[in-house]
Symmetry: C2
Subunit: 244 residues, 2 copies
DNA sequence: CGCCTAATTGAGTGGCGTCAAGTACGGTGG
DNA sequence: CCACCGTACTTGACGCCACTCAATTAGGCG
């Protein structure tokens, strides 16, 4: 198959079956690859599924693979010696996970929901990266976006109140998650995180998160049913509540 | 001169005079450049000096140049609509300032001390960047380090107490700043930031920062004279106080 | 020496954390 | 089908850490 593919005149024919319908190929890292690079990537990559709450890589552990998130949400977190935890990043499809130029992770990587990944072994990926400036630029670009987001949350953790943080968080999720329903100004989706994860992300306690959500309900900005099912009635109001 | 340089057999002769003694050439971005790339960079770059407290680029403003920090400290900050401010990054020599793939800054860039920069016009630099995978990789690498630091501070702002934040901050500065003196375990330097800037960096108020510094003095971990002159008596104790 | 700004220190308040009790929901077994 | 249980979440009472407001001190500069 691969021999054949490389000789194809029409580039689209060269695209591996599995990649053809993949979201990561369009919006993700793989979109930066030339047809034969994509074939090479496809050859060494493997889709894997993980249940909610699994640890993919522990803090200070060597991590053996890179991966595109195809479905679900992954959290990156750090823990102080006495157990206090902070989530420092969330990855949604089609984000790319992994840290080039460093074999050991300085943060823990865990699934927050059921997750489907397209994994690539470390060595193989680094070889591809060295050979493809396109790929490197794409990764660089995504890293800059992550840095922007990280700085956005620095403002939230440093200067925003609890209610502003929770509102900002819901707004961010609404922007990143495939929504179930959508009306004018209103959006419906399932929250991928527990209250505990939200608290760890927002630098708050579970109780405070819960109280702030209740306030947002009382103000009719959101509805919440079954703990996780969120309807945002007015996205603009929510954004204002988050002090953009 | 440049014609001649390119033809030189010994690469070191090709290095522009100005770059020869530059710290940025060794530890900074320019270290990634080949001799003739360095010449090209040197041709379009210019050293500039700025006084403390100057705004280099305002939030939402287009920024016309990239730059290596040669001396001094630059702060990157964001401001909420009601004036609350958060510093989201500090840049020391020989850090590189600038945001590729985006013409408009989403943060404000200001000098915190007197600063000397080696500036490069945006267009010219982007051309060099496109032509030099080495340069791009170096920038990518630095961006990853910035992301790591940013995440480090997310933990501080989300989960550390005021006293831990201040201790962590002093420790970080001690690691980044050229120190005046150094004994076994002890370090001396001049704090580049005002209390107000420290507060904006740490998500605290001026008063709280001041109180926590006083506590560190009382514990004999640091001495402070003339507001800015810091002696850290025991670096290890300070690190512990910061809950690494 | 006097002025201005930066920093310290104190008193009082409030937002968020802590601790504890209560509620809703999903799953399992009878 | 319901009873039971465990987990996740909510809500309330109370306390403390960091903020606010205000007064004082220290340091830099003409």
């Amino acid at each position: 198959m691969t021999e054949l593919d490389r000789e194809c005149i029409d580039a689209t024919d060269a695209i591996p079956e599995l990649c053809k319908e993949c979201t990561a190929r369009h919006r993700g890292i793989c979109g930066a690859l030339l047809p034969d690079e994509l074939v090479a990537m496809n050859k060494i990559s493997r889709q894997k599924s993980f249940k909610e709450g699994q640890t993919l890589i522990a803090e200070e552990e060597e991590f053996p693979f890179f991966a595109s998130v195809l479905e679900g949400v992954v959290k990156l977190s750090k823990t102080l010696s006495d157990g206090r935890q902070q989530i420092v990043g969330l990855q949604f499809a089609p984000d790319f996970m992994g840290r080039p130029f460093q074999s050991e992770s300085h943060l823990s990587v865990e699934t927050v929901s059921d997750v489907r990944l397209c994994t690539v072994p470390r060595k193989g990926f680094e070889k591809l990266l060295a050979e493809s400036p396109q790929l490197q630029q794409k990764l660089f670009h995504q890293t800059l976006l992550e840095l922007d987001e990280s700085r956005e949350w620095l403002v939230a953790l440093g200067r925003k109140t609890a209610s502003e943080r929770v509102a900002s968080f819901l707004y961010m999720i609404a922007k990143h998650i495939p929504c179930v329903g959508e009306g004018k100004n209103s959006i419906t989706f399932d929250l991928p995180l527990t209250r505990a994860d939200m608290a760890d992300f927002l630098g708050l306690t579970i109780e405070t998160v819960s109280r702030q959500l209740s306030k947002l309900k009382k103000k009719k900005i959101v509805s919440i049913t079954h703990n996780r099912h969120i309807v945002i009635h007015d996205l603009k109001l929510l954004q204002d509540a988050g002090q953009k």
